[in-house]
Symmetry: C2
Subunit: 247 residues, 2 copies
DNA sequence: GCGACTTTGTTCCCGCGTTCACAAGGATCT
DNA sequence: AGATCCTTGTGAACGCGGGAACAAAGTCGC
């Protein structure tokens, strides 16, 4: 196997520990939650067995992709029949790690942190909001989503006491890196960042980011292209005009 | 195709290689907001000119990728020098469409909708929350983020009156498709969906989704892999491990 | 004006992910 | 049991995005 791509670095897929053995492609991992949601919907409707085609349609993907994705986890289907909903659901849940309890700390209890603390989608998937932390002393002591907000000074203690491995950053951008550093040094190894800032984390720590405004900007780009025909045309005409005038 | 964007003396009429124009890769589009943010940070620090290397580092990407991305928009740099911060910023803003005003309607003013309505990142990038709508009559009439929440019955009227082209869905999953349909038939052509549901939209309508719990699930997957050796083998080897530790 | 230097814009190559198409394999019926 | 049908799992082709490397093109010093 030892592919020799002549570059001395950037090989973190290669020596990643468990990945070599059962390497599940990142793109596949990102879709597993979709399948899980689709399976839950089917189970609610009392469906016992589904074909890849049906499941794919429910999840909104191509059936070939679905089959290939599932094949990375194992051979959980029956040829000629399909997949047993409950069984497959359990297998995917186990693969993602949703069969265990994941305590999470949310840092920054502003509007967004407030919403995240109350978000039902977390609890229903094995994530438990175990601590809420904010830098504002006035906010500490208040109750949000059934939990008492603690001051950020207690961050390390809370992480240690409650075995927290996952942290969510919902602070302003200016505080994000500092909070991130403290989370990491306190032992958190997975971070979900909502602050619009570029965070640096050491190797071994996973960082994902969600930037709400970026999504809107992407939509705006395409929106502009749709109605853009007219505008771009005038722009082009203007350029041509300008050029014509110069001559 | 022979359209030439006017920039600090660009004089190649010859191989007017139709760069850019009709085809900015989706991956590039998704990074443009990052560059914009990096440029804003540089401008705040008073930087006037920046090399692709510097800018790439600020944005957290590879410099070759950055240059290729920018080349899709046009030739906005000066060889041997770099990019003029303000000029490039304006060009990207224009490309994404951030130089114009984008009225947005938010449907579903629960915790998340509340947070979105107050999100500062929108207003600072040309997005204007033009209407808040909720299905709960009790919530209609209340004030959120300086706007009066309207009942969902007024949705179509609001969209028409305020020329809204972008809609944000922050409702429960069960209401999402119905809201989506109404948005579309009222003329909205770009939708950002926060509800954990698969939405169907006709051609010509752009749909993007953000599922907060999916991000956490992806983190959980990797987290499990990290500690994975021990956790994955619980059944058989946990006992072995426990025994080994005992001795 | 000219050569050395700097940085962009582009080309080439590689690997990943998607998709098609089909062989493999189990279920069902006769 | 054997034939037929059905759906999975996978091999192979393909297109796209990423990264290294390089040529083009401008600046700067003399």
């Amino acid at each position: 196997m030892t592919r020799r791509t002549r570059l001395p670095q950037a090989e973190h897929t290669e020596h990643a520990h468990g990945a070599a053995e059962r390497g599940v492609p990142e793109a596949t991992v990102a879709r597993l939650p979709l399948y899980l949601r689709a399976l839950a919907a089917l189970a609610d409707r009392g469906v016992v067995t589904v074909s890849s085609d049906e499941l794919a349609q429910t999840a909104g993907v191509n059936s070939a992709k679905l089959r290939k994705d599932l094949s990375h986890l194992g051979s959980y289907g029956t040829r000629g029949v399909g997949y047993e909903v409950d069984y497959l659901r359990h297998q995917i849940s186990r693969e993602i790690g949703l069969t265990q309890d994941w305590p999470v700390v949310i840092v920054g209890i502003g509007n967004l942190g407030h919403a995240l603390a109350n978000y039902a989608g977390f609890a229903s998937r094995g994530f438990r909001v175990a601590a809420l932390v904010d830098a504002d002393p006035a906010r500490a002591g208040t109750e949000v989503a059934g939990l008492t907000v603690r001051h950020v000074g207690e961050l390390e203690q809370l992480i240690a006491d409650r075995s927290i491995a996952i942290g969510v950053i919902a602070t302003p951008a200016t505080a994000a890196q500092q909070v991130c550093d403290r989370l990491v040094s306190a032992g958190v190894t997975s971070i979900l960042n909502f602050a619009p800032a570029l965070l640096q984390v050491p190797d071994g720590v996973d960082l994902r980011k969600v930037d709400l405004s970026i999504e809107l900007q992407i939509l705006a780009f395409h929106e502009q292209r749709k109605n853009g025909a007219a505008l771009a045309l005038t722009a082009e005409q203007a350029a041509e005009l300008a050029e014509a005038v110069r001559q």
